[in-house]
């Protein structure tokens, strides 16, 4: 393999890893604060694409307004899911496993609802229908290595999202409340924190992050169908676990590790390319065996 081709693979890997990390951040955030694995995250991700798509094609929004609309609509969807699916469980003091099962149920519901409402056939997210400017689809060539402009946008968006998130969590009052809830929800409540509102905000934030990821994903791979988010959602979950679920930098790291390994598996062992999803699971299993808390995860004793 020539050095140029190696660098081409590396750029492909960064491009894929960047988008995995972006989705993983949203995943890990909800877990970090609520200890809830929100399996519906991948479907929220799908819905964000549909929101942007219909904002442009049906309501004739300009692309940037459609993106903002999608961000808000997805955040609202997240809040709605929390309100109807998770809050009642919390109120009933249901065991943790119920939350997980509910999340899977919500995921199936969202997928099937999407089939009914949006139809089973794929929609296109091409610049030709005005969903984003054509310039975004440019490809930059540096010494024969071709990098789509979108790769830079994705990485930029990941970094901005990360910084924004760190700012919200560590510098704002709601962020402080989120951290308090994550430490001890009962104590936080006793200290006068409106825990329901804080949890709702967490979901909105996580879903808005899913929307950023969703729109960028749709720009990169311009097809939207009711199951679009399933595999990316699963990969993001793996990335979050590999990096250390609950840790935001860990999610980013996990995303890049996953992107890198998926591309390099194909690059070095092209014959096994058809099985590359299996490698994501193998990485997950290895990490769980060697370092169950993930690479950047910290060991916390189970609260009694």
């Amino acid at each position: 393999m020539s050095i140029q081709i190696f660098f081409q693979h590396l750029m492909n890997a960064i491009s894929l890893g960047g988008i995995y990390s972006l989705i993983a951040i949203g995943y890990t955030m909800v877990y970090g604060i609520l200890n809830l694995i929100n399996f519906a995250h991948g479907d929220i991700f799908t819905y964000s694409m549909y929101f942007a798509f219909y904002a442009v094609t049906l309501f004739l929004f300009p692309w940037w307004a459609a993106f903002i609309f999608s961000l808000f609509a997805t955040a609202m969807l997240g809040a709605l899911i929390e309100r109807v699916a998770y809050r009642p469980l919390r109120k009933a003091n249901a065991p943790k496993i119920s939350g997980l099962i509910t999340a899977i149920g919500i995921s199936f519901f969202l997928q099937n609802f999407a089939i009914v409402v949006f139809g089973g056939r794929a929609k296109s997210f091409n610049p030709q229908i005005g969903v984003y400017p054509k310039q975004f689809a440019q490809v930059i060539t540096i010494r024969n290595i071709r990098i789509p402009l979108l790769t830079f946008i994705i990485i930029g968006a990941s970094i901005v999202s990360l910084l924004l998130l760190v700012w919200i969590v560590y510098r704002t009052k709601s962020g402080m409340a989120m951290r308090a809830v994550s430490k001890d929800i009962m104590a936080a409540k006793l200290m006068g924190i409106n825990t329901d509102r804080t949890i709702s905000q967490t979901f909105m934030l996580g879903s808005a992050l899913a929307a950023v990821g969703g729109i960028l994903w749709a720009m990169k791979y311009p097809q939207i169908y009711p199951y679009t988010g399933m595999i990316p959602g699963l990969k993001a979950f793996i990335a979050a676990v590999v990096g250390g679920i609950g840790s935001i930098p860990g999610a980013m790291l996990g995303g890049f590790i996953l992107g890198l390994s998926e591309i390099m598996i194909v690059a070095f062992l092209p014959g096994l390319a058809g099985y590359r999803d299996a490698f994501a699971y193998i990485i997950l299993i290895i990490i769980l065996l060697v370092k169950p808390n993930g690479i950047l995860g910290v060991e916390i004793g189970e609260k009694v």
Binding site: S124, P127, T141, Y227
Partner: protein, 376 residues
């Protein structure tokens, strides 16, 4: 909810008392899932056929034909469930579909075992009907398609070294790739394969590897969703040569998703509006346009043919017994299908048919030529 069930139950009762003069034909199609485009186009074809020919004449009496659709979700195991449900619960006398080879391969043994004729519209993998007496198709086989593609690549495109993108999860793709390779090697062409799985969205690693081997063309024997993304990513990685594909490319989604990146892509298929394949083609095209307000497509055309072949066999059999229907389907000769005449040669469920080659031009599927099967 309870009341709803009650009403449904009563309706069912009414139908079963007064509706005895109904004969049911099942549809086992990919209505949702990764290749729902094919299933939905196929279903529309059958619905149109049912609208134009809603009854069969048995013993001088017109009996209503009811079509029942079950979604196989583009999934192998669901396709087996779907056909079981059609046979056991819906009591159909024949089944149309699935549209894709993997799904058809898992449904076919069940049709064979229960002795219910199954006519697939577009499942082209040879194994679907091989060694089976109850499975027929209205399309050609991939042995033929692979040979046609090799001829097309060698003679029309003039390419020598071809990169093949193979979806390892699809029997159709693996098969078509093999038949292509066999014929292309006979011309003296060289080729290599890159692998992926249905539902993959990122092909940059495979394409980077492929482009390092300097192919003249990329052959994509897969399905439209992946083809569109492969074309996009290949162009972004700087590939400028021609693309070509099999009948899996034939869905409007290819152009919607692939946009300018699929311009110039050629593929073999069974049908194009502008190709006069039989006297039945033109009336079908007009009826389709009137019914759906859009151009007729290959999947719908072949599904339409599947329905008509079954109905024709029922009338000749003068019976609703699936075994007798099967025997009459097998005797079908010079049946004017809208996508070419259908004759089942002795003991085979595979008609010999011409293939159509289309090219994407200015965002439309443009008819290029009809290739008659020769000695292949």
């Amino acid at each position: 909810m309870k009341r709803l069930y009650l009403i449904l139950l009563l309706l069912g009762l009414v139908v079963s008392i007064f509706g005895q003069e109904v004969i049911k034909i099942g549809m086992n199609f990919e209505l949702t899932g990764a290749v729902s485009g094919y299933g939905q186009m196929s279903r529309d074809g059958v619905l149109l056929a049912n609208k134009l020919k809603p009854t069969v004449n048995i013993g001088g009496k017109e009996i209503k034909v009811e079509v029942v659709a079950v979604d196989n979700k583009s999934d192998k195991s669901e396709a087996a469930n779907a056909i079981r449900r059609l046979i056991d619960r819906e009591k159909v006398v024949a089944v149309i579909g699935p549209a894709t080879s993997s799904a058809a391969l898992s449904a076919a043994p069940i049709a064979e075992e229960r002795k219910i004729p199954m006519v697939v519209n577009t499942a082209t993998n040879p194994l679907v009907a091989q060694n089976r007496t109850y499975v027929f198709r209205t399309c050609f086989e991939d042995t033929l398609q692979g040979a046609l593609l090799a001829t097309f690549a060698w003679e029309d495109l003039g390419v020598k070294n071809v990169a093949i993108m193979v979806d390892v999860a699809q029997d159709y793709v693996v098969g078509l790739s093999n038949y292509f390779k066999r014929s292309f090697a006979m011309y003296g062409g060289t080729f290599f394969e890159e692998y992926y799985t249905t539902g993959d969205q990122d092909f940059t690693a495979q394409l980077t590897d492929a482009l390092s081997k300097n192919p003249d063309a990329i052959f994509m024997p897969g399905y439209y969703a992946e083809i569109a993304l492969i074309c996009k990513q290949a162009r972004e990685l700087g590939f400028t040569g021609p693309f070509f594909a099999g009948d899996g490319a034939d869905a409007p989604e290819l152009i919607q998703i692939g946009g300018e990146y699929v311009e110039g892509l050629s593929y073999t298929t069974y049908f194009h509006e502008d190709a006069e394949l039989s006297p039945a083609t033109k009336p079908f095209v007009e009826a389709y346009q009137k019914e759906y307000g859009r151009r007729a497509d290959a999947f719908g055309a072949l599904a339409y043919d599947a329905y008509m072949v079954i109905v024709d066999a029922i009338e000749r059999a003068q019976s609703t017994d699936p075994v007798k229907i099967r025997d009459e389907i097998a005797k079908t000769k010079d049946f004017p299908g809208v996508a070419g005449t259908i004759t089942y040669p002795d003991g085979s469920g595979n008609p010999i048919k011409p293939a159509v080659i289309n090219t994407v031009q200015n965002g439309e599927f443009v008819f290029r030529t009809v290739v008659e099967p020769a000695i292949f």
